[in-house]
Symmetry: C2
Subunit: 278 residues, 2 copies
């Protein structure tokens, strides 16, 4: 194999994993034209977010050849996740493209409640969400969408322990791993981001492309236990976890009450000529 | 619910997700003493790594109450992943604790080959790996373990497209999602980090603790397709992905040949009074 062949193969391997970085430097003429897009994808990052809520979907969004994935912070300063991962935004509320194919919110616990309460965060999500083709989240990120007024009348999901609180934000809580309702796609707790990500790749390209990404990511899960859902976890395990998480939904509901006292100002409908399908 | 109750509940919720950060500030007296540890866990970070290889396992390691999880870079400078995620190390080769419960290497493509070729990275992994209780990886991270001389005679796995190259580093390639052989625990491609992480939580605590973490992370996978393994992916999908990845194993083998020409100097056996079980 020549050095040129080697570079082509690496660029091909990386194209599925890292399309936005490498595909332009190493164009691949054997890829169907329909597989190359030009989406602008914005993923909110904020202090106390759960890093896996972000990085699971990010891996799949980044596999979209031609797409640009922005990690968007309130400022350009690094944010520290709830497990201590320090991630630097690639864009800010000011520099993020205005018209997006996808806007995405990751979840968390205390940091998520703070993001829901933050006016600048809600305004950013409401503005970009009003025009985005897809408005999406994983885990308690759906509560941020809700706080920004983006889930009113939509079926949506969240982490199982927080899902019922969605009703306080006008959404219809729905018990499924990934919930699609028109332009809204929301994932359940943390690890659902992989199923969500693959679902989005299929929507933004096609099922064959999504399966190629799945094979590249070797997404053939074999959890060593069957305790990942309230429908499957043993009673003694639920007895440990439920009390730990029970208070979060109450606190999310308290944010909903606060926001009702000072309502969100949404952009006028006319500002959305082609984006939202509502 | 009082404000104090609310803070306790949040600290409980976060304890499973973010134990190292919050458990000391909010001690929980109702947790069995055996569930609190004091492990030092080091996760290698390097330019071009696959962020999901790192963040999947990191989520689970971070759920270990009392453990300290270090993201260890060659220097303190941020590293950029193969999909463009900028992560700042929390420790360096110089500041990382010398005696570790776990050393971990994430995978990647071109960046992984560069890490395998980097003398300082190999020396760091060989030094900490010689004393660590568990020597671990996900995806092509096992090739970094191999390049550091840490897999000689061990059964191990890697991304399916790179697995056979392990033989050139003295390992015994093994086709499984997570391969455990004495002190070595290696995961298959990218997303296996979730199954790997849960396996490690069970080893470092107990199966009940691991199941509680699984329920907290809602790890109840439902991939929308069944293409995550060469055993399950449709032929047309394999025909797309295999040529893209085929060259990587050849390049890993080339690194093995280079290293045979300039062998690794391992620390003397006497430097390892209690760590490695080999």
């Amino acid at each position: 194999m020549t050095e040129l062949d080697r570079r082509f193969v690496i660029s091909g391997a990386a194209a599925l994993a890292a399309a936005p970085i490498l595909s332009e430097a190493h164009p691949m003429t054997d890829i169907p034209a329909a597989w190359r897009g030009s989406e602008q994808i914005a993923m909110l990052v904020y202090p106390g977010m759960t890093a896996l809520d972000l990085i699971g979907p990010q891996h799949f969004f980044a596999s979209l050849m031609g797409a640009k994935v922005h990690l968007v912070g309130k400022t350009a300063d690094p944010v520290v996740s709830d497990t201590g991962v320090r991630i630097t935004p690639s864009a800010t509320f000011d520099t993020c493209p205005r018209d997006l194919a996808v806007i995405f919110a990751p979840g968390g616990t205390a940091g998520t409640l703070a993001a829901m309460r933050d006016r600048a965060t809600r305004d950013f999500m409401a503005d970009r969400g009003a025009r985005a083709t897809w408005v999406t989240s994983v885990c308690t990120g759906s509560l941020i969408l809700g706080a920004a007024g983006l889930l009113d009348g939509y079926r949506a999901t969240s982490h199982w322990a927080a899902r019922d609180a969605l009703v306080d934000f006008g959404a219809i809580p729905t018990d499924a791993r990934v919930v699609e309702d028109r332009s809204r796609v929301t994932g359940a707790g943390v690890t659902s981001g992989l199923d969500f990500g693959l679902t989005m790749v299929a929507r933004l390209r096609d099922p064959t492309y999504a399966q190629a990404v799945q094979l590249q990511a070797e997404y053939d899960p074999h959890p060593p236990f069957s305790a990942g859902s309230p429908h499957t976890a043993p009673a003694d395990v639920q007895a440990i976890v439920r009390p730990m998480l029970a208070g979060f939904a109450d606190q999310a509901r308290a944010v909903a009450r606060e926001l009702k006292r000072s309502p969100i100002t949404l952009p006028p409908r006319g500002a959305n000529p082609e984006g939202d399908m509502q």
